[in-house]
Symmetry: C2
Subunit: 352 residues, 2 copies
Amino acid sequence: MVTMKDVAKAAGVSVATVSYAFSKSSKVSATQRERIYSVAADLGYAGPNIAGSSLRSGRIGAVGVIVPDSPVQALEDPSVTLLMKGIAEIGNSADIALTLFPASRGGAADSPPNSLVLRGLVDGVVIHNVPDGHPLVEAIIARGIPAVVVDSPRSAGLPFVAIDDRNGAYLQMDHILKLGHRRVGIIVDKLDQRTDCRMATLDDVGAATERNARERLAGYLDAARDHHLPVEDLSIVVAGNIDRAAGDEATRILLEFAQPTALVATSDVHAVAAWQVLRERGLAVPGDMSVIGFDDAPVAELLGLSTIHQPIVEKGRAAATILLDRLGGGTRTRSLMKTSLVVRASTAPPRG
Amino acid sequence: MVTMKDVAKAAGVSVATVSYAFSKSSKVSATQRERIYSVAADLGYAGPNIAGSSLRSGRIGAVGVIVPDSPVQALEDPSVTLLMKGIAEIGNSADIALTLFPASRGGAADSPPNSLVLRGLVDGVVIHNVPDGHPLVEAIIARGIPAVVVDSPRSAGLPFVAIDDRNGAYLQMDHILKLGHRRVGIIVDKLDQRTDCRMATLDDVGAATERNARERLAGYLDAARDHHLPVEDLSIVVAGNIDRAAGDEATRILLEFAQPTALVATSDVHAVAAWQVLRERGLAVPGDMSVIGFDDAPVAELLGLSTIHQPIVEKGRAAATILLDRLGGGTRTRSLMKTSLVVRASTAPPRG
DNA sequence: AGCCGATGGTGAAACGATTAACTTATGGTG
DNA sequence: CACCATAAGTTAATCGTTTCACCATCGGCT
């Protein structure tokens, strides 16, 4: 491996000078710097080794994104990959790499605490959709690792990027109720760690540890109140996971226990799954049942799914911008995004 | 920051002992190890600092994936995110993080060579869909950085994971010709660096620097020959980019210069885009025109797109497995995957 | 002439961890 | 009882950079 020492020797200068050259310090003249670069290129020196550099300077040139559970699950969710896209865009132009972490391990019982994040593999992190109180998040806060939270503004003192979930949910339910629906089924993505699919009461949702679920439900209730709809007419099912399978299951459960004329989902993934299930059962959308999602993932446009648009990529950009600002000593704290209703072909007035 | 030294002092042992404890070496007894862990936990020590550890040991605990151009583009392509999913799955269980890199910068003219990959931010990389001869790939090979290539087995000496593109393409075209189509349009994703959308001749495609394009075209020609179809009846258009917009444009160009009864695309993204364009023009699929894609991305199933299935997630798993094996001193070299035809609702015999 | 402030450079001490080589008990064996 | 292998530690060198504190040189000013 060729090191700075080799370059220094070949260029006939001290290691310090080479280091200053690579950091573009004014301590070395422009001509000297160019000379050093060319010597370095001849030797095949790729630039300061990250480990050495990071050890001394404390900066490593990468930021991480922490996603719930494992990246495995997350990478199938477009709202996660698009967020990453936004982060990558900003990181890219600052020559900062993006690293993925699972939020799972905070230190298993028998093994030593071992989190690559806490051990300094990245300079800072974007925390997405991880429940507050999660050991990893707590540890990150405790150790003062720069972090930005996306979608969960509660985290004590951390800067955040979010949408107004309650209002988004309101728009969603309001649209359905305005169309005249009175029996509405709701598919909530996740209340807490539980990943099983089940019916839930209003109280269950109100007591959820996932902020999203609580906020959006609040929005649904706001809308129901404004339209004088008794809350008993809402059937709620929890999917447990954000994937097709969970959406299928949730839909089946819902159809078994209730006869809604409209289906409101907190995620496009579930809305799409529901649509498929309905189609398989020979039910027409929106003829027999209206379906509306949340996120406006690319697939929503393809299928013609009515949904609530949220600027996911922009959220990623905003999070990265705040994080980089913080890493540079800045003090930006938050960014709020707007949502809007997108009406497509999956919603219509109830039959009859 | 709390270091190993602090833990050692608090536990009344040497730094070496703490290090051995964390690496689970037999040089420290189990009871001692537990004691050290608990002291570490009390102090809030998160485990060996990556920079220090990596500097000394040469291992950093992360692998990278290099995607064409910027992660920005790639993160919108499901065939890329699903590959990442596969890699992440394997990395995850080995406690190895996944880092994203753009293939763009190999060292701009005026600035010093500066690639986080070459500077050791990761232990090894999966190179996906990057044209051979790319400066970054060359540099990686030159420096002996462990790497696995996905989808481009040409790279001298590098282990690889791939499908039989030629056969996959054959299956695709064979299906269309068996249905009786004789005027077929082809949308090829990318021939080389050019990102503009244009018509192409057989020679253009044959001379492409992208291996995928050449292989798949060869498969199309094989099928045409077997069905006694004159190659002049094939119209080829190059999309230039793998995104919706490029697919739209390619379709429009194709419809302008030819009157195919079937459309064969080298990517589901383009096939879906084409379908949308046809729908907008009031053409029925498969009534007025058949459409078939390649990849079997999740959206293909949703829309009912006929396509060639390839196991993308498994490709990621295989690549990661080979890479980790190499990092551990192993010598695995390759893994070949199978493709298969999936007939759904977008293909049918030509009208009349 | 003498002094001063730039400019362009050097030397050497960290940074935090790993690991080869050495040391010291401890227990087992002939 | 002497001898030795093993277990459980310790010491110290080392990894590649960064950066603080110094130092020389030189032109310009009084």
